[in-house]
Amino acid sequence: MKRFLVIFLMLALGFYLIQALHFVPFGANRMGAPADKKTVAAFYLNETVPQTAVANVVTAIVVNYRGFDTLGEVTVLFLATTGLASILYKRRDEEETERVSKPSSTILQTGAKVLFPLVVILGVYVFVHGHLTPGGGFQGGAIIATGFLLMLIAYQKYHLSHSMLTWVESLAGILFVSIGLWGLITGGTFLENSWFPKGTLNSLISGGAIPIIYIAVGFKVAAELTGVLDILLSTKDDKSASNIQQ
């Protein structure tokens, strides 16, 4: 019986996981004292403020210390958009199909119209202040994408300019890479931050290139997530079309 085999497998895996987690006591300090700088985390906690003038340590790690990961991550989203477009690709003759479904209610439409600018402003706020408060490019981008999603759901005819999305996505990506390459050109390392004035801690203009990179990431993520949802939404809706015919 397959199901019991799977349950047995799960129990075995769970046993090993719990046993492994015995070595990881919850809430214990594994970093060592930050001043010792024995582990990576202690180093980051100790050095982020003097070295980069960024208040949010997670932002400093994501954009600066491990900025290469972020570049890869943005690329993963870019590839997901490209891949989705190719997986759900339709030839030109069948492309111009309208999304057929019930028109949404007036409440939703009005609400969407009122909320949309607010959501976008919230998203922009989140990624502009990524180095000061929780949040940043990914969060802000995702929030903006939800705003566009609201419009897409509320208005069947809401037309999202694909070429606009492409432009925003590509330019933001190129900005990110060229900030990185600028560090190389000026004799430093890729994604280096030190050529940019640091600014003072906890003011909006601080952290050198970190806010600029995070803004680029914000635009890129917003464009990519909106693109993903738009591709998913605009696939031909076989079932509802046939329902209407019946």
Partner: protein, 95 residues
């Protein structure tokens, strides 16, 4: 101790909604239960002093993933049926 109470409550809720998401035959409810899992997770992240992660989970896990699932369900079928024949019936109806 107060925190411990909150966490154990949230943990139970988390497991319950994950269980519901997996057991439920109506996929739409299942997807919404997955969204609830993300919601509880987001609260837990906030309590575990990870506001950045909480914000990400809130925006991506609750909103975008759920919507992507809902769009997929709209494009496919809503109910998880155990009968083997149903797919063929569907096919004959369409054509």
């Amino acid at each position: 101790m107060f925190y411990a109470g909150i966490f154990s409550f949230l943990a139970l809720l988390l497991i319950a909604s994950a269980w519901y998401a997996i057991r439920q035959k109506d996929l739409l409810y299942g997807v919404i239960a997955t969204g609830v899992v993300s919601l509880i997770l987001s609260v837990m992240f906030l309590l575990l002093q990870a506001p950045d992660v909480a914000l990400t989970e809130a925006a991506i896990g609750i909103a975008l993933t759920t919507i992507a699932f809902v769009i997929t369900i709209r494009n496919t079928e809503r109910y998880e049926n155990d009968k083997v024949e149903s797919g063929f019936q569907n096919k004959t109806k369409e054509e």
